[in-house]
Symmetry: C2
Subunit: 457 residues, 2 copies
Amino acid sequence: MTDGAEAAFDQHGAQLLSAIDSSDGERMAELANEMPAPDFAEFVREHSLDVTEKLLAYLPIEQRARAIGYFGLEAQQELALNMAEPMLAELLSHMNADERADLFNLLDDSLKARVMRLMARNEREDLRLLASYASGTAGALMTSDYVAVPARSTVAQAFDIIRATAPSAETVYDIYCIDHMGRLVGTVSLRRLMLARKEGRLEKVMTTDLVTATVDEHQEEVADQIARYDLLALPIIDLGGRLVGIVTYDDAMDVAEMEATEDMHRGASVQPMEQNLSSASLFAVYKSRVVWLVLLVFGNIFSGAGIAHFEDTIAAEVALVFFLPLLIGSGGNAGSQSATLIIRGLATREVRSADWLKLFGREVLIAAALGLTMAVAIAPIGAIRGGEVIALIVGMTMVTVVVFGSLAGLTLPFLLRRVGWDPATASAPLVTTLIDACGVLIYFGIATWLLDLPAAL
Amino acid sequence: MTDGAEAAFDQHGAQLLSAIDSSDGERMAELANEMPAPDFAEFVREHSLDVTEKLLAYLPIEQRARAIGYFGLEAQQELALNMAEPMLAELLSHMNADERADLFNLLDDSLKARVMRLMARNEREDLRLLASYASGTAGALMTSDYVAVPARSTVAQAFDIIRATAPSAETVYDIYCIDHMGRLVGTVSLRRLMLARKEGRLEKVMTTDLVTATVDEHQEEVADQIARYDLLALPIIDLGGRLVGIVTYDDAMDVAEMEATEDMHRGASVQPMEQNLSSASLFAVYKSRVVWLVLLVFGNIFSGAGIAHFEDTIAAEVALVFFLPLLIGSGGNAGSQSATLIIRGLATREVRSADWLKLFGREVLIAAALGLTMAVAIAPIGAIRGGEVIALIVGMTMVTVVVFGSLAGLTLPFLLRRVGWDPATASAPLVTTLIDACGVLIYFGIATWLLDLPAAL
């Protein structure tokens, strides 16, 4: 929200709270009705369950169902468990098919069965289908509220079907043309249909160049297709080619945001969390962070062992210790940069696996230029603190660790992808830890050599 | 793309290349016609300008204009400069209004004037308007290809206008209702219009709860609004409330992706780049990375100075050096985690500025638990390498630096936002560098105290 929108939102919220305090039901309903569903959901998220239940009771069922779709899943679950079963069944009936399935999946088996019994037959079957797909797949993301029309219909007949479906469909702007087996054979936009002759058949105006996904495809692929081809919705088919659902662009936007969040978290060695930061339990946050932190502690032991190994070199020239953090830090920083550039490039498909060699070649030049710049910046301080030899050691190490770090950072995401891991696992902390250990060896190796000390082997 | 789609794309590309090699114009046109515009653009991006020009020459002008809209701006500019001016003017006329303005803005002033003269009057005025907004604003992102209908029209009249505008409008699914001054007074979806009585007036069916943005709003705010309210398009108004354009959801998706990329790059201390990684010049990549790397070198001098300052402590107990990298590294890692969680939370609006105190309180507990876990993991190694006192020093330091690092990492993004900087500037390398320096002081401070050494002051 803009600052202005945020202020309006806060003001609206304050009015709503005072209506709740004075138990003014009419005013509550009026204010809640004026708020767009996402704003209402945010207001509710910021207040207690009591407030939520009071408020929801004053909303008509359609609006209540719509608002609940915007809540976090945890909040939805809590509300559902506090509700009488017939009420819950009615609420589910009024929710969008995809949101309904998500909420349904959070209930325990016996409650599922009892609620199912209270629902209409076609809603029940629809729910059974949508709730059956594994989370994170196209099947779990899709909705069954779409407009399908037999390809042999006339344009006029299609309009009748569209009008009849319009109140419940998620979108009526892409029409899906199916054959007698329910297989998707074409699509046509409402825009095109409006310009077509009423007596013409759909077969004549529909596009048969189809972009589709199957139910088991990963949601990230689905979101990518929608973004790449600027689709309003992507039709989802089963293994027999039958149309079973659509994923709309707004769900694709949510998936893209979620996937970017996951990648950013991975980039800081945080494992994906189910809930958002403010509402996640303390233990959930702890759990998402602890594994990598402990692993990295053990990774850092190598750096320590490296330093201990070169004890004699350090004793011979204590000034070396002064430059240790900045030299190994620089390698880690340059490595984090190149790793992040590659991870993001792979995620947005700007970089493909086959590009590694070309990018490696470019990186050699870029990293050498970076290393030289940094060496020039730091060498004078080396000369002042330790004399010319130290300046030379520091400068040479800087170039070497920056080039080494950059190339390692660039290569690691490609390697991880090769073995089937998420490239984003090449987090800044992991890259830094790996490069730190090598940086210690490079630094003291060069120092031992240039200071003409006995090699510590 | 899925692997299957990628294979199909590669195969299609190979066929296209062989058609180009044998200069088979008909086959080229046929193959290029079969490819969706984004795929065609990707194919072109991977090949030389020569190939591109040969190919484009065989496409009908509408398709050529559409494909070029998917090219990177740099490639568009290069093509434009190699084109005869009448050809360029024709191409611009066939491009979408928003893409046309973006390309036009890359031409030099005299070429702009000459091309303008070759265009039709209303296109010229449209172009002048759209090209006048600063990049990164709603004005620069919007298109003027929308459907506006006087609010006093009947539904039947509105349909006539929609049908007439349909071939060129970016979307006909949201209809904008304006008054006699051109001010936006309502919107109505095509879906709703289809269900309305033909003789009714738009005023009666339109929504007057408007979500809009002004021309000077930042594109990130625009994309946020579209995602938050699940809009197909956001109407953009000028300061007088007049409707001047719309931003469609597909452009919002591109902006969201770009902004996420920027944040990720910032998170690794890489300044935003104009082009993507593979096509950016070596110098552009160097420039985006060098500033922070050099700044961080100087930041790391503090850690070095800290170590030098405690020379006597180190000399008294050399085993301490062994644990130095893992202790200060752990503080930096924990800090990167909490900084990244906050940065992403602020970007997705899950976290608001007012949440700092609440999150700070939670973080104290989480970080203490993390620090204790890590202390328990490392203390035995401390005992083995240096005895009980070292184990105690290492354990105490671990808890302290992890708590300190986490709290500093959590607070920094809020502080940066407070002073008007992008919170994403609190990159992992910056956080690590700041915390490293403090970690050195904490570690050797605790060691000096527990080893009962004279304080190095």
